[in-house]
């Protein structure tokens, strides 16, 4: 696909006897936000480092703008802005001075690049506060400012909202969204916070123990999330019998002695309630439910949920 800004093929990283990333095939399309979702230690940062050529690849290939980054660094890097892990800066310099150094090294021609980048992330220009005195949130903002300083086409952001307060997270989310929608930037963002990815990403990749378990658009994922009728009844065994006999329901599951899920949502809930009551089964609750993305994540990873 010509539209791919990042593509990995069977990307694998092995540290000693531990496989950190296992045959990952990732596809990031132009002008879209790709959320790489996974628990801590799932391999998100390693994938990003391999894409950026910051760590060696054990096997497989990573392509950025259709080119292998190895040997094409001078052409590719100026088109990328990235934050990998916690952004580090010179502790004895102010935010502005730090960015001026990076702007100089990048040969940024735009005269107000530093000022504009700081404004975008809500940090003051020419402030006297040195980086060592910055809060974690301010450090993270400066990292984002540095990533967008040279107006790159592609942003690779590894957990960019770490340490930000809820308002800060919302601000960063909005400006990443604006960058994508208004300026056509492509964003690869990783996070272990599911709600954040669900609110921001167009496409989602779920990575678990180094394996990319799922990759699809958010819309497709939401479609896959099953709908069901949740029934709270006095006796699930009796209720199941009634449902099978009178409504011919086959797709249902008994959660516990009082809870039952019916996966055929076309059934008339009022009719079910009435029938169960007539069969002397009391119904304390009946509602139409939707699996959340977290439920889906649990299902895919076969384990615990995610924040």
């Amino acid at each position: 696909m010509d539209n791919l800004m990042i593509e990995t093929r069977q990307l694998t990283k092995v540290y000693g006897e531990q496989t950190a990333v296992n045959k990952v095939n990732l596809h990031v399309q132009k002008s879209r936000i790709y959320g790489l979702l996974g628990r801590n230690g799932a391999g998100k940062t390693t994938v990003m480092k391999m894409i950026l050529g910051l760590t060696s690849v054990t096997s497989g290939e990573a392509y950025v703008f259709g080119q292998n980054i190895k040997g094409n660094e001078k052409r590719i890097y100026p088109r990328i802005g990235a934050i990998i892990e916690t952004p580090g800066f010179y502790p004895n310099l102010t935010g502005t001075e730090n960015l001026q150094i990076f702007a100089k090294l990048r040969g940024t021609s735009k005269p107000n690049a530093v000022k504009e980048a700081l404004e975008v992330v809500g940090l003051p220009y020419k402030d006297k506060k040195v980086f060592s005195k910055y809060s974690l949130g301010m450090k993270q903002r400066l990292g984002i400012a540095n990533a967008i300083l040279h107006d790159p086409e592609l942003l690779i952001l590894d957990e960019p909202t770490n340490g930000l307060d809820p308002i800060g997270i919302a601000e960063v989310r909005n400006f990443i969204r604006d960058l994508c929608v208004e300026r056509g930037k492509t964003v690869l963002i990783s996070s272990h916070i599911l709600s954040e990815i669900a609110l921001l990403a167009d496409d989602i990749g779920i990575i678990h123990e180094g394996v990319l378990l799922e990759e699809s658009s958010l819309a497709e994922l939401q479609k896959k999330n099953s709908k069901y009728i949740l029934l709270q009844v006095s006796d699930t065994a009796k209720a199941a019998l009634v449902l099978e006999r009178q409504f011919h329901v086959k797709e249902y599951s008994v959660q516990d002695t009082h809870t039952l899920r019916i996966y055929d949502t076309t059934l008339d809930m009022a009719e079910i309630n009435k029938t169960l009551m007539l069969e002397n089964i009391s119904v304390t609750s009946s509602q139409l439910c939707n699996d959340t993305l977290e439920d889906y994540f649990k299902k895919v990873t076969g384990g615990e949920g995610i924040a």
Partner: protein, 243 residues
């Protein structure tokens, strides 16, 4: 490359210790004032005085220790704060990065030795201990420049150790051992240690200095060159592997 060197100097803002270390250039001049003052020598030649202030412990011990500390400081922040990956994706070439650090060390070393020269003249002439002669002053400045230029090349191994470590402990320990080893080996074999070879080169034509054996310039430069080249290759490997 020029941009890199410029940014290296920008990074030194508010680093008081870097500038405070320059005060070490005045140390031997102060010692000389007390030493010659107490000795009450009738006539001190400028060369005798400068040997004390600029050609002895300053290039043997003080300057290498100061440069070793500087090398460690230059590398420490970027290593400790995990900044290198941000530089590599600009992209900044590993070797240019290393040489830009070396350029700062070279510039600092020259400034240090010029300050040593100025303080030597001031400490000798102002109290009237020595006469101000153009020959001795120009010789002092030439020798200080020689020392200021050669010593950073001899310190490249320490810069490499600093580049390959996240911590400052090993580079500081290496600086101390490396400096004193250079001083000790000067009496044994001048062409084994780069600092000994540096001493051999600048001492070759200082009157009144008797070396153990005649100075062989080729061997001295070869020693410095081999150590510098090997260290540079090591630095390239270390920076590439991201240690």
């Amino acid at each position: 490359m020029l941009n890199l060197v410029q940014t290296e100097f920008l990074k030194l803002r508010r680093r008081k210790f870097v500038w405070l270390m320059l005060l070490a250039a005045l140390l031997m001049s102060l010692v000389a004032i007390f030493y010659f003052g107490a000795a009450n020598t009738v006539e001190i030649t400028p060369m005798q005085f400068y040997k004390w202030t600029a050609f002895s412990y300053t290039p043997w011990i003080i300057l290498p220790l100061v440069l070793g500390m500087l090398c460690t400081m230059l590398m420490y922040d970027e290593n400790q704060n995990d900044m290198l990956k941000q530089l590599w994706i600009i992209p900044v070439s590993r070797m240019r990065y290393f040489f830009s650090k070396f350029m700062v060390v070279l510039f600092y070393s020259i400034c240090f030795m010029l300050l040593t020269a100025v303080s030597s003249i001031s400490a000798g002439v102002i109290p009237g201990m020595i006469a101000f002669t153009s020959d001795s002053v120009s010789f002092l400045f030439i020798k200080c420049l020689e020392i200021g230029i050669l010593t950073p090349f001899a310190m490249i191994p320490v810069l490499t150790v600093a580049a390959s470590q996240k911590s400052y402990i090993l580079p500081v320990c290496v600086t101390i051992v490396y400096t004193f080893l250079g001083f000790i080996l000067l009496m044994v074999n001048m062409y084994v240690h780069p600092l000994s070879s540096t001493t051999a080169i600048f001492m070759r034509n200082i009157s009144g200095v008797v070396m153990k054996e005649p100075v062989h310039l080729g061997k001295s430069f070869l020693c410095i060159g081999i150590w510098a080249a090997t260290s540079t290759i090591w630095a390239k490997v270390a920076l590439n592997t991201g240690k």
